[in-house]
Amino acid sequence: MKSTICAGVSAAALMLAANGALAQDAVSDGVVKIGVLGDMSGVYSTGFSGKGAVDAVKMAVRDFGGTVLGKPIEVISADHQNKADVGSATAREWIDEQHVEMITDLTNSAVALAVQKLASDKKVITMATGAASSALTGADCTKYGIHYGYDTHALPVGTATAVVKNGGDSWYFITADYAFGHALQDNTTKVIDSLGGKVLGSSDVPLASTDFSSYLLQAQSSGAKVIGLANAGQDTVNAIKQAHEFGIVDGGQQLAGMLVLISDVKSLGTDVAKGLQFTTGWYWNGDDASRKWKEEYEKFSGGEAPTFVHAADYSLTMAYLNAIKAAGTDDSDKVREQLGKMKIDDFFAKGGEIRQDGLLVHDMYLLKVKEGGTDPWDVADVVRTIPGNEAYASLAEGGCPLVAK
């Protein structure tokens, strides 16, 4: 009798202890903090980062219910000014002082590569969206780093293929002079080479240049049929505008923006951008679920339509919170494992999965700018859906050293 009571008490005590431990472990410091670290004031602050990205994450938190495992979810944000050192310092402060569980956005590949490495050393999950470099899940992949939405491998598969097949077989690149631009140029060159086209030359332009005229003239005199813009955001907009100003498009050369957002098209005007083809991870006017989400987002954010990066921000926040819920803890190892097991299947990513190297593989879309859409943001038609496994490099091709050969 005595022994059974003893056993009962100790069992109860054990259970209590276990429960206590569980409650303590489930959410490490009583709150789940998501950090949005992006370019809040520079060339990538519209369309990629900025208010649009923060709103997308906040909206996902609202739609999720505001709490996970009974603990509140908090969203904080900061400007990395496109500087890897500023981004790293902020991430370090977030992780060490504020106990941020996950860092997202990370537009600008140079910043993303630095922060992803730092966060992984400290066992914190990063989910990069705005960054494009395929190195994030290739040579520089990390255990806790996820790349969500698109990459420099997927972009040219759609756009460059379409342009070369249309006869644009000689290219000149205007390239943003840092990790992202060079990765995009290299990946595009591979696609062009594989289709029998050739690259005649390139100009490296510092990030956030405002005058592209002399580079455009070099491109013009190269005689290439296509001027490939391996840049993004305001840089792309400025380059396209100035190509029109200097009569380069009228002179018969074609522009191919390798990374174009619908916000860029809107800012150029569909009359200027007409006929431009570009690859995207999502388009709001693709299906009903997306249209519905865009409306909700516009209401939440106050007018501006979401780009595919914003949709990715929402989708990944949902995926992350669902993974915490399913794993029953915010422990990075368990959540990362859960994210790898889950199917990512929502309005943004159809039949997507997060691979071992951290890459979300999902379908991409080739769009073509049109005039006279029904909605002010209805700026393009979907020309082609590119299946995920065609758009992205295979696990082996990606070259992530963590993947067992």
Binding site: A208, D211, S213, S214, G223, Q234, F246, G247
Partner: protein, 301 residues
């Protein structure tokens, strides 16, 4: 036309376009240095201020006075913004620089450098760091002109012609008119000029205002071409100092001619080896300093 020649001409044209800004800014610097012996490090920031004033007049000023539809356009800005910058310059001269004339010139240099940092900080705080496009380019200057070897935007052509006229007018005023001769005399021997009944402190203040006004004018002209950004002056000021050093400190004609010439050299370098374009000016500066330490147009001291 041979494509190589065409490319050289085209890049030369763009170089001239940049040279315009070098010339206008180094002209203002030369005027200030020549008459006040002050190295105005705030010149780039005042150029930036001019561009921002044009942007503010167009995009915000209307809303501030309750008239949302009011946009003060390019032409009024071309007069208003330089005047405002000149007023700001005169305030700096009257209340700050004037106290430092008796000290080593390094003090006024440090002061103006401080003014630069304050202005940049303020504008980074209130506007985005990487630039806002200026939306107010006048309709009459939109479109392109066919120069035979290239299509050149009308506006840029206007800027080149307008600036050449301004530079010539300033040179003429200082070197060939009565006001100019008084200004020059005032710097040579202020006591003597005072004896003639001329108010030298007022003249110095107006001169500083005039030099900074030129920077403001260059800023307004630059606004429609480049994005208006808090760091636009900082990117330019180093080149401008190189131009002034090559041209010869204090030489008006030297500053203008060197500005245009270096713009051209920079542009044409882009044809042959683009990455060297940013360094070619400094390379020239080194050579000129070795061979002619007073600059190409500088007077022997």
């Amino acid at each position: 036309m041979d494509p190589m020649i065409r490319l050289i001409l085209a890049q030369g044209m763009l170089g001239l376009n940049n040279g315009v800004f070098y010339a206008m800014l180094s002209l203002g610097l030369a005027v200030i240095f020549g008459l006040l012996n002050v190295v105005n490090f705030a010149h780039g920031a005042l150029y930036m201020l001019g561009a921002f004033l044009a942007l503010i007049l167009y995009s915000y000023a209307g809303a501030w006075v309750g008239l949302d539809a009011l946009h003060i356009g390019f032409w009024p800005a071309l007069i208003l913004a330089p005047l405002l910058v000149a007023c700001f310059g005169m305030l700096i001269e009257r209340f700050m620089l004037r106290r430092l004339y008796k000290l080593d010139p390094i003090y006024s240099l440090l002061l103006t450098f401080g003014v630069t940092l304050v202005l940049q900080g303020l504008f980074i705080n209130f506007f985005n760091a990487s630039g806002t496009p200026y939306p107010g380019m006048p309709e009459s200057l939109r479109g392109v002109v066919n120069l035979g070897f290239m299509m050149f935007p009308k506006y840029r052509l206007f800027v080149i012609i307008f600036s050449i006229i301004v530079c010539f007018a300033v040179w003429y005023m200082i070197e060939r008119t009565r006001i100019g001769s008084r200004l020059r005399a005032g710097t040579e021997n202020p006591e003597l000029v005072k004896a003639f009944g001329i108010n030298v402190p007022l003249m110095v203040m107006l001169t500083f205002g005039f030099g900074t006004g030129l920077a403001g004018l260059a800023g307004v002209l630059a606004a429609p071409i480049y994005s208006v950004s808090p760091l636009m002056g900082a990117n330019l000021i180093i080149v401008i100092f190189a131009v002034v050093v090559i041209g010869g400190m204090g030489s008006i004609a030297g500053a203008v001619l060197t500005g245009f010439a270096l713009g051209l050299v920079e542009g044409i370098t882009k044809v042959f080896y683009a990455p060297a374009a940013n360094t070619v000016i400094f390379l020239l500066m080194v050579i000129v300093l070795l061979v002619r330490p007073n600059g190409l147009f500088g007077r022997q001291s």
